[in-house]
């Protein structure tokens, strides 16, 4: 690419509006031609000046007023707010769940241990045998008394 081909493409190039092959060609030419590179830098600086000179923040009261109006407009109900709160990707939710998991397992296991096996019904109508818990056959009885 020559300088006279490159020059009319500089504005499109600065606006990122050139097609890929042309973009590459212009970039290659700019890398090797100091005259066009300087012209391109000046153009970019002038265009950046437009943004710099015109980007201006409004007064803070505009934001406050507008936010209040938007809030009134979209009227977030309590369930909407709660739903959005739940949707927030907070890692703390995961940490709380992981912390609660052992507690839940402990509660579940203690419940099943205390309840024991379900009573069975005898086909002859006999009452179910009483279940014995906390019995240790190896250990000594707590007291020795003479029976007679």
């Amino acid at each position: 690419m020559h300088c006279h081909d490159c020059e009319p493409l500089l504005i499109d190039h600065a606006c990122a509006q050139t097609d890929d092959p042309i973009h590459t060609e212009v970039a290659r030419h700019l890398a090797g031609c100091s005259v066009c590179a300087l012209e391109y830098c000046r153009l970019r600086a002038d265009l950046a000046g437009i943004v710099e000179a015109h980007a201006e923040a409004p007064h803070a009261r505009v934001y406050t007023r507008l936010r209040r109006q938007v809030a009134a407009e979209v009227r977030p109900r309590w369930w909407t707010r709660s739903w959005h709160l739940l949707l927030r990707p907070i890692p703390a939710y995961g940490a709380v769940l992981v912390g609660l998991l052992p507690l839940a397992l402990w509660v579940a296991s203690s419940l099943t241990r205390d309840s024991g096996p379900p009573p069975t019904t005898d086909p002859l109508g006999m009452p179910p045998a009483a279940s014995l818990s906390h019995y240790d056959a190896i250990s000594l009885p707590p007291a020795h008394r003479d029976v007679l």
């Binding site: 002038d46 015109h54 505009v62 109006q69 909407t80």
Partner: protein, 179 residues
């Protein structure tokens, strides 16, 4: 810098009541949109009112279809239409008034200190159409295609108009002494 949710997602979130999405969208566009409106109407208070009006309009208006174009293009289209409406109203009011006495030159133009004043002065000297196009392209960051849609002309026309406007702007800037 990473950009979180897209503008379109933020708009949906705002409509479903998420005010944090509004904060994010406002922070994204306040300077660009206000800068554009301020230059178009040349009145700070009016530009603030228009900013509020434009943002409320895009939040209320559910006719926007994200598949047909970017949110930014739609936002600046609404802003442009508001400016044109204001101009029309102003023209009718001005026509009813007696002609004004010649105004003193703007202090911004007199004090040619600094590059930003020079840029503003150069922009002021462009035709309205040229200034409008440059602002939409540079401040609004719209593409040629989006500009063509807004103005209802072919993309090639926008391209040639934008080239002419850029050249005129740089020529004016060079004459002022900051080009």
């Amino acid at each position: 810098m990473t950009r979180g949710r897209s503008d379109e997602d933020l708009l949906e979130a705002i409509r479903s009541g998420d005010l944090r999405a509004f904060d994010e969208l406002y922070a994204r566009y306040e300077r660009r949109l206000f800068g554009y409106l301020r230059r178009m109407v040349e009145d700070r208070d009016l530009a603030e009112d228009l900013l509020q009006d434009v943002l409320l309009t895009v939040i209320r208006d559910r006719s926007y279809d994200a598949t047909k174009g970017r949110f930014a293009a739609w936002l600046f289209t609404v802003a442009r239409n508001r400016c044109l409406e204001h101009r029309r109203r102003l023209a009718v009011r001005e026509a009813a008034k007696p002609p004004p006495s010649p105004a003193a030159p703007s202090p911004d133009l007199e004090e040619s200190v600094g590059r930003l004043q020079a840029v503003r002065a150069a922009m002021t000297e462009l035709s309205e159409a040229e200034r409008h196009l440059l602002l939409l392209k540079q401040v609004g960051e719209l593409t040629y295609r989006e500009l063509a849609d807004i103005h209802g002309v072919p993309e090639g026309t926008i391209k040639s108009r934008l080239h002419a406007a850029t050249k005129a702007f740089r020529r004016r800037l060079a004459e002022i002494g900051h080009g």
